[in-house]
């Protein structure tokens, strides 16, 4: 009862409440309140995440399993950033309330927390993101092979778009006059035609499908038809 029916009741009532709330100005704000609650819940749940991070890494260090040194680095980096951030170590005092330490700004570059953000977090995250340039190239070489019509359309369109996006596109087909009957052969015209008519149609149909998928999934959850999240213990 406590493990199955009540959670299902909570889910159904929360879901129906927010569906109805959308239709009256008095209750529209409930959506904001609930989203605010979720943010608080997610922030409180950080403790859970950190707890798990610590547990796993400590266990790896204590059992001296291979790679424990890296777990130590993770814990050290975590501890330093957390302490420096939570207690606003070295924070710049607040202009209007310099006497209140915790009102200061700790995410400025001169404070240690800001330093870690500028010189460690930003380079690491943007370099990981930049790796995509390599993977886009290897995917183009490996996956864009004309094995059947679908693959030909995939790589052909990518080919046109790539050409049209640079000076090469203008160089190859820029000479065809805009208003001539052959203007559709211009790469930028082709690109606009593809992106504004074909791609929008494809994306539009996917979006419509997704909307129906979201609706069906939500209904399955709210009416307790899909109960996989419930523990069967």
């Amino acid at each position: 009862m406590l493990r199955r029916t009540i959670p299902m009741l909570i889910l159904a009532s929360a879901g129906l409440l927010l569906i109805v709330a959308k239709f009256s100005p008095f209750t529209v704000s409930w959506q904001e309140t609930v989203l605010g609650w979720f943010n608080i819940l997610a922030a409180v749940a950080f403790v859970l995440g950190a707890g798990n991070l610590l547990a796993v890494n400590l266990e790896q260090i204590s059992s001296r399993r291979p790679g424990w040194a890296y777990a130590a680095i993770t814990l050290f980096a975590f501890a330093v950033t957390l302490v420096v951030g939570m207690f606003k170590v070295g924070a710049v005092p607040n202009g209007m309330h310099p006497d209140i330490h915790l009102a200061g700004a700790h995410d400025v570059p001169q404070a240690p927390f800001g330093w870690i953000y500028d010189y460690m977090l930003v380079p690491l995250t943007s370099t990981m993101f930049a790796m995509l340039a390599f993977y886009v190239a290897s995917a183009a070489f490996r996956a864009f092979r004309a094995k059947n019509i679908e693959a030909i359309l995939l790589l052909g369109t990518a080919f046109i778009i790539l050409l049209s996006q640079t000076a090469a596109g203008m160089f190859l087909t820029g000479w065809i006059p805009e208003d001539s009957v052959f203007s559709f052969l211009r790469l930028d015209v082709m690109k606009r035609g593809i992106t504004e008519h074909v791609q929008t149609a494809g994306m539009r149909a996917i979006t419509i499908g997704i909307a129906l998928g979201v609706a069906a999934t939500s209904l399955r959850l709210i009416f307790g038809i899909d109960k996989s999240y419930l523990s069967k213990t």
Binding site: A14, I19, I40, T81, L102, A103, P123, F159, I161, T200
Partner: protein
């Protein structure tokens, strides 16, 4: 539908191949790399007049003094009583505030220094590149609160950022200790970073701010706005707090099942909000956008000057393609019927539309990805190596 992606290349990826041969050539490679790196860097450092990774800082000294308004004699509460103990009032006395020593109010006499309270002085530093520092140096008058000085802490930062960038990029060659170090640092720093951001931008203002506004205003966030209904806000704040503890109860050895309640609450609200949101924004809006006229006319001006409507060939072709695309891709998503016969052919057309859409989307994003790597190289070449 996508068996097409199984290309003929052998399953074993290069990383397998790299592992088989004896360790020797690999260590040789790393040694060569290290030697080349050190020699190159030191050459670069000595040859460049202003050196590598040089950063400067614009340092401004800031001072604040505690003042209070010079209360006119008429007020019955004598100012002397208040001045005796500056921390006496529960929330900071509105008439008392911290201002810069050269504040206009002090000069005009409407504000009076509170004696016995030391002024607070601190420095704000702003890191700038060497080129910007030269520019600013000319504009700053010597002796004033602002000065420019070289900033070793920021130069160290550039070195750390550059090394971490190279450590991550090394993953492109193969998984190696340098990448593992960078990965471990990234996981530790980012987990703590988001916890701190979550704490200071959500828990303090919204949770603690609702439960104990006075305390938060006193010790952490003086400008926390007063809520119109403090009692209700405090009560409402208990709900996420309670749900949070139920979630954390999973860490406890027994009774972890209670965490299903907050999860059910989150899934329920998500389902409710997304159901209506998806139908309103994705379904209805896209249906309207899909209702295109198959025959399109253009407003034009005829020779005789009055406006007439001309048949727009390419516009009509675009609309027809759009509508056909929508319907055929929807057919592809049809679950109840196998893709055979008429439905099969329409679904096939739908897949073609999808493939063109994906090819186009792939092409469009290549530029963005290349920009990202470009920026990392720019950082390495200009900020670090100062080429």
């Amino acid at each position: 539908m996508n068996d097409t992606n199984r290309d003929g290349s052998s399953r074993g990826g290069p990383n397998d191949a790299g592992a088989q041969p004896a360790k020797r050539p690999n260590t040789l490679l790393w040694v060569a790399l290290a030697v080349f790196g050190i020699v190159g860097l030191s050459l670069n450092a000595f040859m460049r007049p202003e050196g590598m990774a040089k950063r400067f800082a614009v340092v401004t000294t800031v001072e604040r003094v505690l003042v209070e308004e010079t209360v006119p004699a008429a007020v019955e509460e004598s100012p002397a009583a208040v001045a005796a103990d500056p921390k006496s009032t529960q929330d900071p006395d509105p008439r008392r505030k911290w201002v810069a020593p050269e504040d206009a109010g002090l000069a005009a006499g409407t504000l009076r220094r509170v004696d016995g309270v030391e002024p607070i002085r601190w420095e704000t530093r702003e890191s700038v590149k060497a080129s910007e520092a030269e520019l600013l140096r000319s504009e700053i008058k010597p002796g004033g609160p602002v000065r420019i000085e070289s900033s070793p802490i920021d130069s160290l930062g550039i070195w750390v950022a550059a090394l971490l960038t190279l450590f991550i990029l090394s993953f492109v060659y193969r998984d190696n200790p340098f990448y593992k170090v960078a990965e471990s640092i990234l996981i530790g720093v980012s987990a703590a970073y988001w916890m701190v951001v979550g704490f200071w931008s959500t828990i303090v203002p919204q949770l603690l701010g609702a439960l104990a506004p006075g305390f938060v205003r006193e010790y952490a966030m003086p400008s926390l706005p007063a809520s119109a209904t403090p009692g209700l806000d405090a009560a409402l704040a208990f709900v996420p707090l309670l749900l949070g503890f139920m979630l954390l109860w999973r860490l406890a050895p027994k009774g972890g099942w209670i965490s299903v309640w907050p999860i059910a609450f989150v899934i329920g609200t998500t389902a409710g909000i997304r159901l209506v949101g998806a139908i309103e924004a994705d379904l209805m809006r896209q249906l309207v956008a899909a209702m295109k006229p198959l025959v399109v006319f253009e407003e034009g001006v005829a020779a005789s000057g009055e406006a007439i409507r001309m048949f727009d060939f390419w516009g009509s072709v675009g609309s027809v393609v759009g509508v056909v695309g929508d319907l055929s891709v929807l057919t592809y998503f049809f679950f109840s019927v196998e893709h055979k016969g008429a439905v099969g052919k329409t679904a096939r057309v739908g897949i073609w539309f999808l493939m063109i859409s994906f090819g186009s989307a792939f092409g469009l994003t290549v530029m963005g990805r290349i920009t990202l790597l470009l920026q990392r190289f720019e950082f390495l070449f200009t900020d670090w190596l100062n080429i």
